[in-house]
């Protein structure tokens, strides 16, 4: 157990920034328990520093938490996008890379328009097929029937 004179001397040393880490720790423990008004200044400074240190730790913790949250969110986003493209292999190509169409030298970039052209073309084929024309086999049959 140290006497008051010791703490005054250590306190002075503290204010002159000459204390070691161990002495500061010792002085901090003393200031936390001491009720002597002669050490009010010491308690005020050390208390202020303690509050500041605690706040600083809280800010660091908050920043660390925010950074971890951002990393987790980014990871989740990347995983989500990867999973989406894995389960939909044609997505991303679809509507652009899996078709092309040109008409009169101009490119058609609209998927629906390309599909409409396809359906129109197919239906147009049937129009000709409906014509009452004999097939090659029927024509040959007619020729041989006449022999």
């Amino acid at each position: 157990m140290q006497n008051k004179e010791y703490w005054i001397r250590l306190s002075d040393k503290y204010f002159e920034a000459l204390t070691t880490e161990q002495e500061e720790q010792e002085l901090r423990q003393f200031a936390a328990k001491c009720q002597d008004p002669d050490f009010n200044e010491l308690r005020a400074v050390m208390g202020y520093l303690e509050v500041g240190r605690a706040e600083s730790k809280a800010v660091i913790r908050h920043k660390t938490f925010t950074r971890a949250l951002a990393v987790a969110a980014t990871f989740t986003l990347i995983m989500g996008i990867s999973l989406f493209f894995l389960t939909h292999p044609n997505r991303g190509q679809d509507e652009s890379a899996d078709f092309y169409a040109y008409t009169n030298g101009m490119e058609i970039t609209d998927h629906d328009q390309a599909f409409d052209l396809m359906v129109q073309t197919l239906q147009g084929m049937e129009t000709i097929n409906q014509e009452e024309l004999p097939t090659v086999e029927e024509q040959l049959g007619d020729i041989f029937d006449g022999l």
Binding site: D98, F99, Y102, T103, N104, Q123, M125, I128, N129, L133
Partner: protein, 140 residues
């Protein structure tokens, strides 16, 4: 974009590839459509490629010739002539990897049409049967 699609289709061994190779896509009187999309599934198709050309008789004749060169490869066919001219043709090619393959051709030059007569060639692949395609795209 064109080359990867064509590479996946089974046309490389066919004569119609001479006109469906993309060489006429920017022709001023042509319409070329190539589709390999999941949306084709509604028609039971996996690949569609067509070329329609107007006014250019050289290209139109080349289309007819290339179609005729593939006739011997067909397992089923239907050809309609007007005089010496092929006006309509259908080929069913041997399936590859279990996929049905069809080629259609028509030439409107020998028919009275409202607009400019066109020659059209179509290549399609997919599980669709011919009966299904006729039902789907035939005149209602």
């Amino acid at each position: 974009m064109l080359l990867p699609l064509i590479a996946q289709a089974q046309t490389s061994q066919l004569a119609i590839n001479r006109v469906l190779g993309g060489q006429y896509k920017k022709h001023p009187h042509s319409t070329e459509v190539e589709i390999m999309s999941q949306r084709l599934e509604q028609y039971r198709l996996t690949y569609y490629h067509s070329l329609a050309v107007e006014q250019d008789t050289v290209v139109m004749n080349r289309m007819a010739e290339s179609f005729m060169d593939d006739v011997p490869k067909a397992t089923e066919k239907e050809l309609k002539m007007r005089g010496q001219h092929l006006t309509y043709g259908f080929l069913q090619l041997p399936p590859e990897d279990g996929v049905n393959r069809y080629v259609f051709f028509k030439d409107e030059r020998y028919f009275p049409t409202a607009g400019n007569p066109a020659a059209t060639i179509i290549y399609m692949e997919g599980p669709a049967s011919l009966e299904y395609l006729k039902q789907k795209f035939g005149q209602q």
